[in-house]
Symmetry: C2
DNA sequence: TTGAAAGCGCTAACAC
DNA sequence: GTGTTAGCGCTTTCAA
């Protein structure tokens, strides 16, 4: 509790001894009167003007010191820093941003969201945050790419050329993303990645799930409360060009669960991979003898639809993401579990991170793991963004 | 996009036609120069001063109209409101709060958290929010009560006498809480309830779970993937004086799940109730023939501990809340599921609601249902507050 | 190297 | 009823 007094000597001591009452008793008592009369000030934090008064310099000098603008006598630097330290000065961000009267531009570099429910959700989280933080000067500029490398590479140019204060970025294509980030680091601008991470040690922030762990959890859900022999199928339905590593990490985690639990000897595994474009390759034989299916991306509904059409029952399916079609089969009881990645929250938290960094200039957690949310029919409710 | 111009005629038209370039090209081009020379202003939102100029009144008058302070000619009210409407005026909350230079006091009225892990988490969420919003003038005053009616009633007096701008409140004791809220409504101050809700129609905000639905989900988890006969035990370990209805709602939801699924004919139910103080009443006979146990509050660990000590295996347990002791038995595989209420998030969101209401004067969702989070050993990670 | 002062947009006290 | 003005705390320009 900081008590700033312009009064001196006995009056100062007198007032100081009553600070507690003054704080807890806001009625117009004698002390409040004294405060007002002498134009004293009770506040949690000291202001630049007060620091200036205490250090016998002008507010301008204090400001120069705070912002390391130089051109100040070392003597004053030390004096002011000591006061800042002692009184625990905190800059008033309301006043600061008001005076700065500045817009903070954020480049949002994501896949085009039309027809991609998951990315639509990400964007709605981003937009929610944009609306909320617009009053603090946050402005967004979007750079969308089609879900292929060529489009991605083309947009990279534009993003690099664009002048801004922060970047929100989904590194879908691994190698290109690594190169892009390397290049982008020259700008020395805060970057936050969503959906998938590039590496832990590049100093950039990440909002999203731990892909390995989500696969691990899927393993547990598949194994859950089953005593008899199980034939498990890992069903990969991938895009034409798929460089993203997320689903590989999930499969990795999935197998690891069974490796870690060698008491689960009754599980046998097989894998099938088909291209997104070749859904008609599905056939009944694929599911002969299968008890459980793990779909390591959002396309569980494709498997579910096929099983439904062909009247194949009793297979446990687990997948990712609350796409409408996935929910449909969850509600029908054909898909058993979905792991939700909370895309709206990811988008929101990504922008929120940059807001904290740019506007509040706060230090924030670098990695924000979105919880692995297990969704069943009974705990599904349509996503809300905060 | 609003473009405020003090210039007129041909110059105005000229500038207007170039607004787009001005926005996207921040280099010092001729148009920027024009803007500066005539002291024009490009901004998303009009200011009070500008409104005043457009309406031929003073800023003071505009302010009076915006705040409904009265004492303004109807003619001006209409004129100004029309301009506000047309240009989509939004008050600058940075400037507003800076000028107000006001503290927003929030009374936090919760159970004493010592020895109550769940409430400790709630408080840490509250404190997280307090730290974050302090810079906007949010100040908290705590009113804690012991977990009994007498203490609760005594604190009610203090809370009612306390002058503040908002209230965060956990209505543990139903009847007293209803009476208290009725009384408190006279103050006409925003109130947010956490943990448990009083009623949907009192206009107060709520942050917490849907207790009924959480029981319903527990039903599903108990029933999951089990074909054979099941004997289900609902184990209630209650406090000496327990007026809270949350666990009753959960039991309600639990039974409802089985009512809604009459195909589940192989489930039989029984109930046991013991007082918190009489844990030594537990005996092996209670668990004869039992396959599954539902503990509708945070005390699953008590059952788990007993089963472990007495070497009773193969019983599925489901409970609530990530207390350390619950987690211990979750990790040991004795507790199968825990439903997490995310207490930190509740505390945080409660304060966040009041911040939005008081500081930002934003309309916010009245009810914020915390997701029913299913926790297994594999997706447990220690709680983080945002 | 430093101080003075204007201004960010809004509020509220005061004068007319 | 209405306009004027002095802040709120910080930034930044300009002059010294």
């Amino acid at each position: 509790m900081y008590f700033c007094v312009y009064a001196h000597g006995i009056l100062q001591m007198y007032i100081k001894s009553y600070v507690k009452q003054l704080i807890f008793d806001e009625n117009n008592n004698i002390f409040t009167w004294v405060i007002n009369f002498f134009n004293l000030k009770i506040s949690d934090i000291i202001t630049i003007k007060e620091i200036a008064a205490l250090a016998n310099v002008s507010p301008g000098t204090v400001d120069r010191i705070i912002h390391n603008r130089g051109q100040v006598a070392q003597e004053n630097v030390d004096k002011v820093n000591a006061i800042i330290e002692e009184y625990g000065y905190k800059r008033n961000i309301l006043a600061s941003n008001l005076a700065l009267n500045k817009k903070f531009r954020i480049a949002v570099f994501l896949p085009k969201y039309e027809n991609l429910e998951y990315w639509k959700s990400q964007i709605s989280g981003v937009e929610k945050a944009a609306a909320e933080f617009a009053k603090f000067g946050i402005v967004l500029d979007y750079f969308f790419y089609d879900f292929n490398k060529e489009s991605f590479q083309k947009q990279i140019e534009k993003v690099i050329d664009f002048d801004c204060d922060g970047l929100l970025f989904a590194p879908i294509f691994y190698e290109d993303s690594v190169r892009f980030l390397k290049e982008y680091e020259k700008k020395n601008i805060p970057v936050v990645m969503i959906d998938s991470n590039i590496s832990e040690e590049n100093g950039h922030a990440y909002v999203g799930q731990d892909a390995f762990q989500s696969g691990y959890l899927a393993g547990r859900l598949i194994s859950f409360a089953v005593k008899n022999e199980r034939q498990v199928l890992i069903f990969k339905i991938a895009r034409e060009i798929e460089s993203t590593s997320v689903y590989l990490q999930r499969i990795d985690g999935f197998y690891s669960y069974f490796k870690d639990h060698d008491e689960l000897t009754n599980f046998k595994f097989s894998e099938i991979t088909i291209k997104d474009s070749g859904i008609d390759q599905l056939c009944v034989e694929m599911f002969k003898g299968i008890n459980s299916i793990f779909v390591p991306n959002s396309r569980a509904y494709i498997v579910a639809r096929f099983l439904e059409k062909n009247n194949i029952n009793g297979i446990r399916i687990i997948g990712f993401d609350l796409l409408n079609e996935n929910i449909e089969y969850l509600n029908k009881g054909i898909i058993d579990f979905l792991i939700n990645q909370r895309p709206e929250e990811q988008g929101y938290m990504g922008i929120n991170y940059l807001y904290k960094k740019l506007v509040l200039q706060e230090e924030t957690e670098q990695t924000n793991y979105i919880p692995l949310e297990i969704i069943l029919k009974e705990n599904y409710s349509p996503a809300k963004v905060r």
